[in-house]
């Protein structure tokens, strides 16, 4: 082999088996975690029974079957959808804002979605029929998705407008937190004038829960998440270009206006739909993209988006399993668990780079 050929051979093409290996590992992990997640809850169901139920074999305990199909399966699917959606939304935001600590919860996007949801749930005299999320019909579910996505997009556009004027990462984070507080205060005022039943429903929702989504709503949730993820995957080339900054991206022929719009659209759908159905869930959006980037040592979005999706889903399942406190009857709020796992990751990111003012 002459030296020239050697060099050609040493130029790896992205999507090569080395990354597919990681995708396979993460997929396998996801499947295992999914099955484990089905076994835990207020009643322990042995793995064997869970597998029998899933594959519809004979001699299945009828109670187990009901618990698995009606309660745990939708909850686990919700965890998978929410985890991948929030993680991919975080990845997109980190790339677009060139800010390692960007994520749907940090920059106030989930607060925006909450505002959207509150506007439906608390609107005076509006849908008096709406109580809990899982009692919503198909039309109302779509309404929640649209309202929360619109709320998310609203905050996203404000943050983007500010980020063009202020290039400082820390300043942007603080502004994001302030906008989050602002939307929360609007919601509080709203609550003050709402009737107690509606407030209770809304408060329950703000605690965050994976268990509130019914089987029929999953179709809607799934469609929204799939749309958002496809949209972001199709944007992976311009996302890669944005890694070098906007000026370089433009110089290699990327229409930055269009790609910004696409990122806002997919982030809003992903974070909005998830928040609408599960309530605000923090930290998954910031932490998972970093975990994935470090695991794969990659910056190519074609590789990162699927991996982030898988890792996000897996981490969410882990959080759900922990929140069941295996071996007990207790169920902890999911938000407490994601924060417990996510916060150390954020601290680790800051410690590792010593500053958050450099890019990734």
């Amino acid at each position: 082999m002459n030296p020239a050929q050697q060099h050609t051979a040493s130029l790896p093409v992205s999507g090569s088996p080395r990354f597919i290996k990681w995708h396979l590992i993460l997929t396998l992990l996801l499947v295992i975690l999914f099955v484990i997640d089905l076994t835990f809850g207020s009643v322990y169901i042995p793995i064997k029974e869970v597998i029998n139920t899933l594959f519809g074999s004979e001699s299945v305990n009828e109670t187990y079957e009901k618990i698995v199909w009606l309660i745990r399966f939708p909850k686990a699917i919700t965890a998978v959808l929410a985890g991948s959606a929030l993680a991919v939304a975080g990845l997109l935001m980190q790339t677009m804002f060139r800010n390692p600590l960007a994520g749907p919860s940090v920059l106030g996007i989930t607060s925006g979605a909450s505002l959207g949801v509150a506007s439906i749930m608390l609107s005076a005299g509006g849908y008096s029929g709406i109580y809990m999320i899982n009692q919503l019909g198909i039309g109302q579910s779509w309404l929640i998705v649209i309202a929360s996505s619109a709320g998310a997009a609203f905050v996203m556009i404000i943050i983007l407008g500010i980020s063009i004027r202020i290039r400082d990462n820390v300043a942007l984070l603080i502004i994001g937190i302030m906008i989050g507080n602002l939307t929360i205060s609007v919601v509080s005022i709203w609550q003050y004038f709402s009737n107690p039943d509606q407030i209770q429903d809304y408060l329950m929702w703000t605690f965050g829960s994976l268990g509130g989504v019914s089987n029929s709503q999953l179709t809607i949730f799934g469609t929204a998440v799939l749309a958002g993820i496809l949209l972001s995957f199709f944007s992976s080339k311009p996302l890669n270009a944005l890694l070098l900054g906007e000026n370089y991206a433009r110089s290699i022929g990327i229409r930055t206006g269009t790609i910004r719009f696409l990122i806002i659209a997919s982030t809003s759908i992903l974070a909005g739909a998830t928040t609408g159905f599960t309530g605000p869930i923090a930290f998954i959006g910031i932490a998972v993209p970093h975990i994935t980037r470090n695991l794969l040592n990659q910056s190519d979005h074609k590789v990162l988006i699927p991996a982030t999706m898988l890792a996000g889903a897996a981490l969410m399942l882990i959080c759900d399993i922990i929140s069941q406190v295996p071996g007990s009857q207790i169920t902890l709020p999911i938000n407490a668990i994601t924060a417990m796992i996510g916060s150390p990751v954020v601290i680790w990111i800051i410690m590792k780079r010593r500053t958050i003012n450099s890019g990734f």
Binding site: A4, H7, T8, S10, L11, P12, V13, S14, R98, F234, S236, K237, N240, A241, L243, L244, G245, N247, Y248, R250, S251, I252, G253, I254, R255, R293, N294, N297, Q298, S299, D300, K302, S358, G359, F360
Partner: protein, 339 residues
């Protein structure tokens, strides 16, 4: 022949809605040919970066036109422009885990489809760009682990992979040490010669620019700009006019800038060429003025071979001998203090 870049009555500056127009420079008429390395020079704040940004359509001009290969840049869509013009910016933020080959591959984006899949042609262009810039050795390293000089070569490789007839570079030699500065200049000149690309770079390195550029674009104090070979601009006194001030003077005989020393104590120095030059510099630094006049009270005669040199200082009738410039200078300064 169409010019690689042709600038006519261009006025550059900033115009924000509702704010006053801030003109930086212009109107200017400049041009460059294919296969030329052109250095854009001018005092700080004269608008070098603004001009590059305007050519690359990163900002709009206040007036006038820029044509690249005969086509008006502002009428071109982004995709067509990206096949004619590539850039190397002064700002460099590269994500921590991006590899060198991935960065260079980004240069192929104007030529690839929506998933950026690389064809054998693309891979070949990437390999060529890395080979000619001498960056093949660190293909798989993370960009952030490279030294400043290596990283600059990789950024140039990225621009080369883009395969455009024109390349713009904003201060590519900033933050580099002298060997790296020279290496980058030599690389750019080689590229201009070998590939016929038109390469325009802004720089503060006047002396380096005078030595290696085929042409200079000089933005002057009065905001106008002129274009010409370095030699014509020097002989026409344009460089002096633009850069001379109270403390710095362009020395036309050596092509370098010298600090203006306000020496008043006259001294005469004789000796071999190199010793004479460096002794004179040391004396000028401590406030002496070198003169050819034989009638002065102080003179220094340098004698001796390569190994043993002697500096003989004659003050009226007294004679002192030194074996280094350091000793000579120390004596002269101690004498000043006593007075």
């Amino acid at each position: 022949m169409t010019k690689a870049i042709d600038i006519s009555t261009l006025e550059i500056g900033y115009q924000t809605k509702g704010y006053a127009i801030k003109k930086v420079a212009g109107p200017m008429n400049l041009e460059m040919n294919k296969g030329e390395l052109v250095c854009l020079i001018g005092p700080n704040g004269s608008g070098k970066t603004t001009l590059l940004r305007t050519i690359a359509t990163m900002q709009n001009p206040l007036g006038g036109d820029v044509h690249i290969l005969g086509k008006p840049v502002r009428k071109l869509d982004r995709k067509s422009l990206s096949k004619m013009l590539s850039i190397v910016l002064a700002e460099q933020q590269v994500p921590g885990n991006m590899k060198v080959h991935e960065l260079v591959a980004l240069g192929r984006y104007p030529h690839t489809g929506w998933l950026a899949r690389l064809t054998p042609t693309d891979t070949e262009k990437i390999r060529w760009a890395m080979k000619i810039t001498g960056t093949l050795n660190f293909t798989n390293r993370a960009v952030v682990t490279l030294s400043d000089g290596e990283r600059q070569k990789v950024m140039i490789a990225r621009a080369l992979a883009q395969d455009t007839p024109v390349i713009l570079l904003d201060e590519p030699t900033a933050h580099l040490d002298i060997p790296n500065r020279v290496a980058i200049m030599m690389l750019l000149r080689k590229l201009a010669r070998k590939t016929g690309k038109a390469i325009l770079m802004s720089t503060h390195e006047l002396e380096l620019a005078l030595q290696s550029a085929d042409r200079l674009w000089l933005i002057r104090d009065d905001s106008t700009a002129i274009s010409g070979t370095p030699e014509d601009l020097v002989l026409g006194g344009k460089i002096e006019q633009t850069f001379n001030d109270k403390s710095v003077k362009f020395d036309i005989s050596s092509g370098t800038f010298k600090m203006v020393e306000k020496g008043n104590k006259l001294i005469r120095v004789t000796g071999n060429q190199n010793e004479l030059l460096w002794t004179s510099r040391a004396l000028e630094r401590i406030g002496y003025k070198i003169t050819e006049n034989a009638q002065v009270e102080m003179r220094i005669d340098i004698s001796g071979s390569d190994k043993t040199k002697k500096w003989l200082l004659t003050e009226r009738v007294e004679v002192y001998e030194f074996d280094s410039i350091e000793g000579l200078i120390a004596y002269l300064r101690s004498k000043e203090k006593m007075l």
